[in-house]
Symmetry: C2
Subunit: 668 residues, 2 copies
């Protein structure tokens, strides 16, 4: 039980860090009226959306809780609700911090300079980062504390808890992603390309909606996403430990079953270490962002090594732990290469022949970028089998990748805050030097955020493999033979799922963006004096359009994803016998995981490459701003937006959501 | 042996049809000097490219023949060479006919009207269609006649023959695809978008290259592609018949082993029937194109039913045959829906908000369009297992889909001829009414060609499944358990292959198009008087650029595709034991087939939707020519070009090429 004390101690300490950061943000007064007004408008828009979104999600959650309560039992239903509500709470707290920090970052940049601004944005991101780590650990710890004595029900409760967090993450990612990208695309297409006004110009009717989008998509949506990844890795690993081994005694079993939790404790301690290092070392922001993560990983590895040695757990698992950390970093570096180096320069160069070749080349970068990460993850799986901890080792690698989520999520959430601060600075009419600082901080975040996406996808693949193994164990099958038609058909149908869901989410962005474009054009035409600054555009109408579109469009993908595994299992089971249902569902998971991971990589990296090619041209290369190449690059960036911020990230969640539903179906 | 007489009789009769059509085309004199000159330039460009391409392919073929000769034996090497050279010969004959028929179609439209022009283009396509059907059947028949008495070597020889045709098809598709799309994109981007001159305007320096591209890509490349599909289906089915059953007696065995050949005989007879119907009925061209295919299928089904009944082979196989035909048609109709109906109108509508939303929406159409075809093919596989002929039935469904290739390939090859005729009419300065006729004929071909693509992808999936089953049998394994890490890793690595190869081919088109754009821009700048028509552009330079780019860029994808299966088998075999190599290679095939089929569907349908959205706008909707929506639609069409004519179709071949290499590796 000393381990459980560590779990609760660490998570409460982490929550203390969250409260400290929240208070140090809000204790700084906002002494600039216009900036305060703009920030209040962004906050109001974000809160309205989140409120409406959570209301709808709560309704869905209530239905599923009812179903689980009825079919499985009351505690299982409550675990699902815990997963769902803890995710929503995390997103809410993180977004409060972000909307508090954005205006203060802008003011800090104006009054105190780069370092103070960096600190403020970093704290804003830190609230989300440490909230994710602490809430996740606390909830997992609570379930372990209450139910781990009965392995069978423990596994079901964990599954339901993971299901809840996945369900919310899926809706939050898609809803937030559609909101932010419809606003962004709408603002860019009419504002930048047609009216020729710069980004974040207050004359653009969609500008507030665009900034609200950063908060609800890039902050709240991403928070729920990472929370789900973190939980998903721990859940799958714990279930494998409970189900997969026969232990000599109870004490050894406890060690293995609690290892995922302990690794997360070490990761949280490491994250705090990385955070402290930022105070002590006072390096340049760029170095800090990087070092904070590296220091966290080193502390994490040292603690993990000490723990394994102390309990004589053998070094195979440590190999898996190192594999997880290293492969996460390497995939991040590959992401950085494809989204920030030679490929991006070539993409910028080829943009000189127009938008079409920019799109063709960008897609090809995205497609090519799938190869190395998959090869590396294949290496992790094979090495784990040959030298590491086998199936359990693979899941431990996923847990290790995400253990330092406190600090890596901080870096992820810091970027949108800096971005938002720039928008506020622009709209409040601050000196351009302020915008320069926030732009620099934003750019730093982009690169590091790319690494974060590598972690998310890599861990999704490994966690899904672990969930898949757990599924087979729960369904009591040793063999899923691809030569069997049920399985091959299942694989093909599963392979379709990510394509179908991406199609729906991309189309939603396209449709919502069209609505936004027409509205912005209408306002430019019907409200005289917008362009001269004499009349204010109707910002609220644009926020309302994005809100409506996002809430309307997030339902269908969610329903499809939840229903398909159920239909496959019972449909095939009915037509070809119970085993066929289990087999087809197993195939479905494999197919969805393969195409899901590949499409997610393609979309994340392709989107990043387009984004950075545009920025590279804007920095003065290949003709610079206003050139033919620039126009082409803006088109590419606009296509890349839903790729990297809506459809792509939702696929990571999709594959785990389907896996966890399958796992639940196998147990009832 | 009466069956073998039917095989040779039908194939020789088919060749007779080819010779008849060739002669009736060339017997018509070309009495218009300027048109003749243009046609000669197109023909010279096409022949130069084909000659250069075949030289390089021959070198590769020689190396592989040498390897096979050394490792497997001389006859196997010669079978590979037969597959390769018969494919090249088919492509060559088809292209000769196309370059003869294009100018005569233009003249027929000018002098005799629509029906004569249709007849000429249809005959031009017919040469390719019946050459594919007859050569394929003749070569398969010859191998059966010579070697079918020894099952083991028969299977190896068939594998090598199929390998040869796949290898050539892969190069021809990629090389031809890069040529045609670099020329097309280059001509469109500078000519249409920048200089504002219409399509096929003789002032455009890339115009001859564009027309050459239609011949080498859409005719020769597609011919090799369909030849490979036709062979691939027969080969996989025959191998399953040889390997998969234990027969009561030799006579029954012969019946099953020869069934794929006999079905192709019936399909060829049906195709001739469909052709004759065109003479007898003299309907409108649109009705003819459709009816010719339907009549062919009805005759085919009747003959197949009679044959199965006569030999008492049971109705399970007839269910599979019907499933093949119906699913092919249904997938074609789905293709037609996504590339010609509501989705296209919505795509055109959404183009009003610019190129970016056009791209986003078009990609989403492509992605969504993967779902129904896969569900239908899943239904075919499941139905075949429950009511039809099992594994063998699945392969028979693939054979049935392609049995009427004579007529369906005719329709496929007819489109580019009509397209080319339009180009010649434009360049030779014919009256616009001529162009109107050829445009109408071209448009008719587009819809029917979409159905052809559905057949190609559907049969590729079913044939690959059959090859996969044959692989497992040849490698003497009953179980490929996805829970085994070797297999799951193999699946992921295989899943990457189509992404990687698509990335390479798309990038090649992008790079080659950039070269072309720069050259066309240079000519407009440096050759005074092009725009006023006083000076001729340097057409040859543009042809040379496409030729060089295509030949340079087709090598890498080919080498990767051939080497990866070899490396996986021996690499995994070396590191984890022989069985691991077999398992990983099996996984590789499944992974490549899943993502290959899905990406191929997405690219074919997305590309078709973009193409037709542009045409829909050009017909006067959503603002018509010159509107913002039109500019956006041109960008979409340009992205769609490599999708539907280079990368997408090469994936059908990729999955069969990898499967057949694996099958060969399993046997040596």
């Amino acid at each position: 039980m000393t381990d459980m004390a560590a779990v609760f101690g660490a998570s409460l300490f982490g929550l203390g860090v969250v409260v400290y950061m929240l208070r140090s943000i809000s204790s700084i007064p906002v002494k600039h009226e216009k900036a305060a007004q703009i920030a209040a408008a962004i906050r109001a828009g974000a809160m309205t959306f989140l409120w409406e979104e959570y209301r709808i999600i709560t309704a869905v959650v209530a239905v599923i809780v009812g179903l689980i309560w009825y079919v499985v039992g009351s505690v299982a239903g409550m675990c699902f609700a815990l997963g769902a509500f803890s995710s929503m709470l995390t997103g809410f707290i993180g977004m409060c911090a972000a909307t508090d920090a954005n205006v203060r970052t802008a003011l800090a940049a104006k009054e105190k300079g780069e370092h103070a601004a960096f600190q403020m944005a970093f704290f804003g991101g830190g609230v989300m980062g440490f909230a994710v780590a602490s809430f996740g650990l606390f909830c997992m710890g609570s379930i372990a504390y209450l139910f781990s004595t009965n392995p069978d029900s423990y596994v079901i409760y964990l599954t339901c808890f993971g299901f809840g967090s996945s369900m919310v993450a899926f809706f939050a990612r898609i809803g937030g992603g559609i909101f932010t990208k419809s606003a962004d695309v709408g603002a860019d297409l009419v504002g930048k390309l047609e009216a020729g006004i710069p980004e974040d110009d207050p004359r653009n009717p969609a500008v507030i909606a665009d900034n609200v989008g950063d908060c609800v998509g890039d902050t709240a949506g991403m928070g729920a996403d990472i929370y789900e990844s973190y939980i998903g890795a721990m859940v799958s690993s714990t279930i494998l430990a409970v189900k997969g081994f026969s232990f000599p005694d109870l004490a050894t079993e406890q060690l293995y079953v609690q290892l995922p939790l302990m690794l997360s404790v070490f990761g949280l301690v490491g994250s705090v270490g990385g955070l402290m290092a930022n105070f002590v070392l006072r390096l340049q922001p760029a170095a800090m962002l990087r070092n904070a993560s590296y220091i966290a990983i080193v502390i994490f590895l040292a603690l993990a090594y000490g723990y394994l040695t102390m309990h004589g757990m053998g070094m195979e698992l440590f190999i898996s732990i190192i594999l997880g950390c290293i492969s996460g970093i390497v995939i991040g570096l590959i992401t950085e290469y494809y989204t920030g180096s030679t490929p991006v320069e070539r993409l910028a160069d080829i943009s000189r022949s127009g938008a079409a070749t920019n799109i063709i080349y960008g897609l090809s970068i995205g497609m090519e970028s799938t190869a190395l990460p998959v090869i590396i993850l294949a290496g992790v799986v094979l090495t784990s089998y040959k030298f590491g901890g086998g199936d359990f080792g693979v899941s431990i690698a996923a847990v290790s990748m995400l253990a330092t989520v406190g600090i890596s999520m901080t870096v992820d959430a810091y970027g949108p805050i800096a971005d938002n601060a720039g928008g506020i600075a622009e709209m409040a009419g601050f000196d351009p030097s302020v915008r320069k600082i926030t732009d620099k901080l934003d750019a730093l975040g982009n690169t590091t955020a790319a690494i974060g996406k590598g972690f998310a996808i890599g861990s999704a693949l490994l966690a899904s493999l672990a969930l898949f193994t757990a599924y087979a164990q729960a369904a009591h099958i040793d063999t899923l033979n691809i030569l069997d038609p049920m399985i091959i058909v299942g694989i093909f149908l599963g392979g379709v799922m990510p394509f179908l869901v991406s199609a729906l989410t991309m189309r939603s962005v396209g449709k919502a963006a069209l609505e936004m474009v027409l509205e912005v054009r209408r306002q430019f035409k019907e409200i005289p004096g917008i362009m001269t600054g004499k009349a204010l555009p109707d910002y609220k109408q644009c926020v309302a359009i994005s809100t409506r579109a996002a809430l309307r469009e997030m339902m269908l993908p969610g329903i499809i994803t939840v229903l398909v595994p159920v239909v496959i299992k019972f449909g095939f089971g009915y037509a070809f016998g119970r085993v066929a249902g289990i087999e087809a569902l197993g195939g479905l998971l494999v197919g969805a995981t393969v195409t899901g991971v590949l499409l997610a990589l393609m979309m994340a990296n392709g989107g990043g490459a387009w984004d950075n090619a545009k920025k590279y041209i804007e920095a003065g290369h290949c003709g610079g701003r206003g050139s033919e190449a620039h126009r082409a690059a803006i088109t590419g960036d606009t296509v890349g937006d839903p790729f990297k911020d809506t459809s792509g990230p939702s696929l990571n969640i999709l594959i785990k959501l389907m896996s966890i539903i399958a796992l639940l179906l196998a147990q009832i």
